[in-house]
């Protein structure tokens, strides 16, 4: 029973173009969403987050969009760089909970 789903296991993008990573969730009680980036043989690194009271949060080249009615969020990376090549995990939680629920990840490859 996956409450957080990342349906694209991989994505390949040309350097300089936009990367769009998608995430869907089923639990309407989630009110905080995070994106993590993971390089091989390293732990996940926090990238950006968004609260359910917002529909957009931007941090440099990274923007997260939240569509609560569709229970969907996306991470946009513009412009994409080869160093962005990694696995990206979407995660969600309830404000009152310590439990972070992860998606299965999307492997992004940015081609030079």
């Amino acid at each position: 029973d996956q409450q957080v789903k990342q349906n694209s296991p991989s994505l390949s993008v040309q350097e300089g173009r936009i990367s769009i990573l998608n995430c869907d969730y089923t639990n309407s009680m989630f009110d905080y969403f995070l994106w993590y980036k993971k390089y091989p043989a390293e732990g996940p690194t926090f990238l950006i987050s968004i609260s359910s009271i917002k529909d957009k949060n931007e941090d440099g080249r990274f923007t997260v969009f939240l569509n609560k009615s569709a229970k969907h969020l996306s991470l946009h990376i513009v412009p994409s760089q080869p160093g962005d090549s990694a696995v990206y995990f979407c995660a969600a939680k309830m404000d009152s909970s310590y439990k972070l629920i992860f998606g299965s990840g999307t492997r992004l490859l940015v081609r030079p």
Partner: protein, 115 residues
């Protein structure tokens, strides 16, 4: 200056052995976690401690026992290791819950292989 550090990074051991993975955080956080990344790459929470008290205990075999001597340390002890325990185990920490949620910071992972 590693914020969340765990040892060992790699561990190969035989079935039936008992092993421990240690974790320390220097972020001043009150809450610590153990997550497991299985062969399908899902990251799933196993345990969480807040100020040395167990607050999350997922459906994990009781061969797994976490121990938190203080709020900066959370160790994971595994008894009678089985082949299916082979996975990557991530320690993590976060501040206590506040408005807007809280961000969890992960260690680099411990690769456990049971042969």
């Amino acid at each position: 200056d590693t914020a969340v550090s765990q040892t060992p990074k790699y561990l190969v051991t035989q079935m039936g052995n008992d092993k421990s993975i240690k974790c320390e955080q220097n972020l001043g956080h009150d809450t610590m976690y153990w997550y497991k990344q299985d062969s399908k790459k899902f990251l799933k929470i196993m345990f969480s401690y807040n100020n040395k008290e167990l607050i999350i205990n997922e459906t994990v075999p009781n061969r797994f026992s976490p121990k938190s001597p203080d709020k900066a340390h959370l160790n994971l002890h595994i008894n009678s290791l089985e082949l299916g325990d082979s996975a990557v185990y991530f320690c993590a920490s976060s501040p206590s819950i506040g408005p807007g949620g809280n961000t969890i910071y992960f260690g680099e992972g411990s690769w456990l292989t049971v042969v």
